[in-house]
């Protein structure tokens, strides 16, 4: 048990704490809210698909402190984000930029919706104008079997 406690102590000291910690929180609630908003859009570089606001990693903490530093220095949200992107690349942005090739990403959904809507409309119009097909496309035996199965 003593050994276990020792291991525990070691582990606890080595462990990163969870996400935003009390000592990081800014005194001004308005500034803190802005810092949180910015953090939620920045990716923690060493974790996978987590924002620095959610992450437990030490690097995320450094970035959170950096964001708060910039906010305290009087940066706007955009300036603070640009400051981070300048240093870490667009990889940190959880919301991909809307420029260049990324336009494909942003427009893929709307374009596909238009195409699908167009095809759907053509199909529906054609169906509404089609003539009722002749029945008895089934043979007598098939029809009987279908009735047997479909009978509720």
């Amino acid at each position: 048990m003593k050994r276990l406690a020792a291991i525990l102590c070691l582990l606890l000291m080595a462990l990163p704490a969870f996400a935003v910690q009390p000592d990081e929180v800014l005194d001004d609630p308005a500034l803190e809210a802005r810092a949180r908003e910015i953090s939620a859009g920045l990716r923690c570089l060493v974790c996978r698909n987590e924002s620095i606001d959610e992450s437990n990693a030490a690097l995320a903490r450094d970035l959170r402190l950096l964001v708060r530093e910039r906010v305290l220095a009087g940066d706007t949200n955009e300036e603070a984000i640009a400051y981070i992107v300048d240093r870490y690349g667009e990889y940190v942005l959880l919301r991909p930029q809307t420029d260049g090739a990324n336009l494909i990403l942003w427009l893929a959904g709307p374009l596909m919706l238009i195409i699908a809507g167009g095809v759907g409309l053509v199909f529906l119009r054609r169906r509404s104008r089609a003539a009722e097909p002749a029945e008895a496309a089934l043979t007598e035996a098939e029809a009987a079997r279908l009735r047997e199965i479909m009978d509720d």
Partner: protein, 655 residues
């Protein structure tokens, strides 16, 4: 010995699958009844052999047989029995064995209940299912064999990833796999119908239960995963748009589309080729899911197996089955003529719109998921696509779907007049507006998320109720008739209302949650959203295979104590990993959520406290959706379709 037996059974199952993939197919082509008839017993044998292999592996885990590499890597003698069993699929090799077990289980089902199918179709369905089985048996035996021995068995194991030692995550994979693999059945039916060259109403009816079951299991699986994330990650997030989550969400969206379009095939003999295409794509997305999770190509929290060789093998399986399906589709889609004629405003059209919205929504999720890969490969940009993108790009589809759903669900087949339906829905609409307005009034100057979300939620729930009530007709005895409505009607209303409940939970929690982060000294009280929390003590507790720091807290409101809460931090010494176990006070209208952080230098403990309004509605809605699926699945007409076999067998004693 039992291990070797399991290994042998697995190899035998592989050969049975190869046999079943070829012989019945040839038989169906040549019209040889004897060859076709081998499919059903082969399917049964394949299932039994795979089950034997799976049980052998389970036995090795239960008895902590450390001569097996897999058991060493994923188990420990001190681990609770529950997690020894769930540890079987808590790793790559075992989970693939579970996957293939479910493939054969569904094949067995189709053989058992498929008596009503025409013999050639049945033989072909089982043959295609066996091809899928054979591909994954091959994958397991050649790249991910769970039965490998250790040259020198160690004294004890390395323990299971502590994150997986949790009830929510322990049962998350089996449900997801039931869902993923259920779609293999829809695929088999689609390919068999393409080979057969005919798709009719009966086909729609046969394929629908499998799709419905898959969708239902996916709903439960995704719900469990999101619930786990909520209480385990320490800050109450429930959905992250992580690639692996998306991998399960895409088949969910596509199978939702498929089960609706199969209704149109069943009732109206239209949308046939689209339904076939969806069935092929749905299974494609399942395998993409397997590929993303197993290959680690898009690294994410879940990718616990990272090995390129496996990735390439899986990609080859995916490519082969998609090529087979799509080539057949291209060759044969022409023969599937639509028969039903319907007006622009009709249930058919509403279901087409449903399919467009769901399919394009799935497409958006797909583009967002693979975009980082595409951008890096072709545009030399290393970028991320995270929740802000998906929230913007995906949500509009759900809003459109929610707005149209109550209306579309009530439209009659063939020809409808919107005015008549709309009049019936006026009370539901007014109620929804009132709820939305109330939400708007309750908050001041915040986003539109909560009012819009709660409006949609009320609209969906009230719309579903209106739909059921309208079906009871007029005059006396409506309540009695309500009880006697077909289960499919109840299932539909329940599932649609469930979506509404989930939307309510998501909207309220996103917009109105309150957060508090602070250092708390032992004995101190603090207030969050009208609740008073007091930290009365912190102590060390020893679990079976972990040690925990546990805080004792009391939760009170207006001076009256409601409950005690015990947030924990656990450390699993063998695996060397910590986990957070948040304490939750569940309520119908809110959760109070506390996570314990680190001891602070100046004394006291870091604490995160959340007030989460309508949190449980998210998973309550998922349960309702799954329940709706189950109700629909138990509808009389599927039992009749299944039972037709026995009736027929009696009528025609010798075939």
């Amino acid at each position: 010995m039992i291990t070797e037996f399991g290994h042998f059974a697995l190899i035998l199952a592989f050969f049975v699958a190869l046999f079943q993939a070829v012989v019945p197919l040839v038989g169906a082509h040549k019209g040889w009844a004897g060859w076709m008839a081998t499919a059903a017993p082969a399917a049964a044998l394949q299932f039994l052999l795979t089950a034997a292999a799976f049980l052998a592996l389970t036995w090795a885990f239960v008895t902590s047989d450390f001569s097996l590499q897999l058991v060493v890597q994923n188990s420990h003698t001190a681990k609770p029995m529950l997690y020894k069993i769930t540890g079987v699929w808590g790793n790559h090799e075992g989970s693939m064995l579970l996957w293939v077990l479910i493939v054969t289980l569904f094949g067995f089902f189709a053989a058992w209940f498929g008596g009503a199918l025409p013999p050639t179709l049945r033989a072909r369905v089982l043959s295609v299912q066996a091809m899928i089985g054979a591909a994954f048996f091959g994958f397991i035996l050649f790249t991910s064999n769970p039965f490998l021995r250790m040259p020198v068995p160690p004294f004890d194991g390395q323990d299971l990833n502590p994150l997986l030692q949790d009830p929510g995550l322990a049962f998350h994979p089996p449900f997801l796999y039931l869902g993923y693999v259920g779609l293999s059945m829809s695929y088999s039916f689609a390919v068999a119908a393409l080979i057969e060259g005919r798709v009719d109403a009966a086909w729609g009816r046969w394929v629908r239960p499998y799709t419905l079951a898959s969708w239902m299991f996916l709903t439960v699986g995704i719900g469990l995963g999101s619930w786990w994330a909520y209480y385990e990650l320490g800050w109450g997030g429930f959905w992250f748009w992580d690639p692996v989550e998306n991998a399960s969400f895409m088949p969910w969206l596509i199978s939702a589309a498929l089960l609706h379009s199969a209704v149109v095939v069943e009732k109206r003999e239209t949308l046939k080729s689209w339904t076939i295409l969806l069935a092929i794509i749905a299974f494609g997305f399942s395998m993409i899911g397997a590929f993303i999770t197993r290959s680690g190509i898009i690294t994410s929290v879940h990718a616990f197996a990272t090995d390129p060789e496996r990735g390439v093998f899986l990609l080859a399986i995916l490519a082969a089955f998609m090529m087979l399906g799509l080539t057949l589709f291209a060759a044969r889609a022409g023969v599937m003529q639509a028969r039903g004629v319907f007006a622009l405003v009709s249930r058919e059209s509403a279901l087409v719109v449903n399919n467009i919205l769901l399919a394009v929504a799935a497409f958006v999720v797909f583009t967002g998921t693979i975009w980082p890969l595409v951008a890096e490969m072709f545009f030399d940009r290393k970028l991320s696509v995270g929740p802000p993108f998906f929230n913007v790009a995906f949500t509009p589809f759900m809003i459109a779907l929610g707005l149209l759903m109550p209306l579309g669900a009530m439209l009659p087949w063939k020809r409808a007049r919107v005015g008549r339906i709309a009049r019936r829905l006026v009370p539901a609409f007014v109620l929804a507006l009132a709820v939305g307005a109330l939400a708007w009034a309750m908050q001041t100057g915040q986003s539109a998320v909560a009012p819009v979300g709660l409006f949609l939620a009320a609209w969906l729930v009230a719309g579903a109720a209106t739909d059921l009530w309208t079906r009871t007709g007029n005059g006396e005895g409506r309540l009695r008739r309500l009880r006697r409505l077909p289960r499919a009607d109840w299932g539909k209303a329940t599932a649609h209302a469930g979506l509404g409940v989930t939307i309510a939970g998501v909207a309220a929690m996103t917009a109105w949650q309150a957060e508090d982060i602070r250092v708390v000294q032992i004995g101190d009280s603090y207030e969050v959203a009208g609740y008073t929390l007091t930290l009365t003590g912190v102590r060390e507790v020893e679990g079976p295979n972990y040690v925990a720091t546990l805080a004792d807290m009391t939760l009170a409101r207006e001076g009256r104590q409601i409950s005690t809460m015990h947030p924990e931090k656990r450390v699993y010494p063998v695996a060397g990993m910590p986990t957070t176990e948040a304490a939750l006070d569940n309520g119908f209208l809110r959760d109070v959520y506390v996570a314990l952080g680190d001891p602070q230098v100046g004394g006291g403990w870091a604490m995160r406290t959340y007030y989460k309004p309508l949190a449980n509605w998210i998973w309550g809605g998922a349960i309702l959706m799954a329940l709706g699926g189950a109700l629909s699945l138990s509808d009389r007409r599927y039992r009749v379709a299944a039972g037709a076999r026995r009736a027929r067998a009696k009528a025609v004693p010798a075939e």
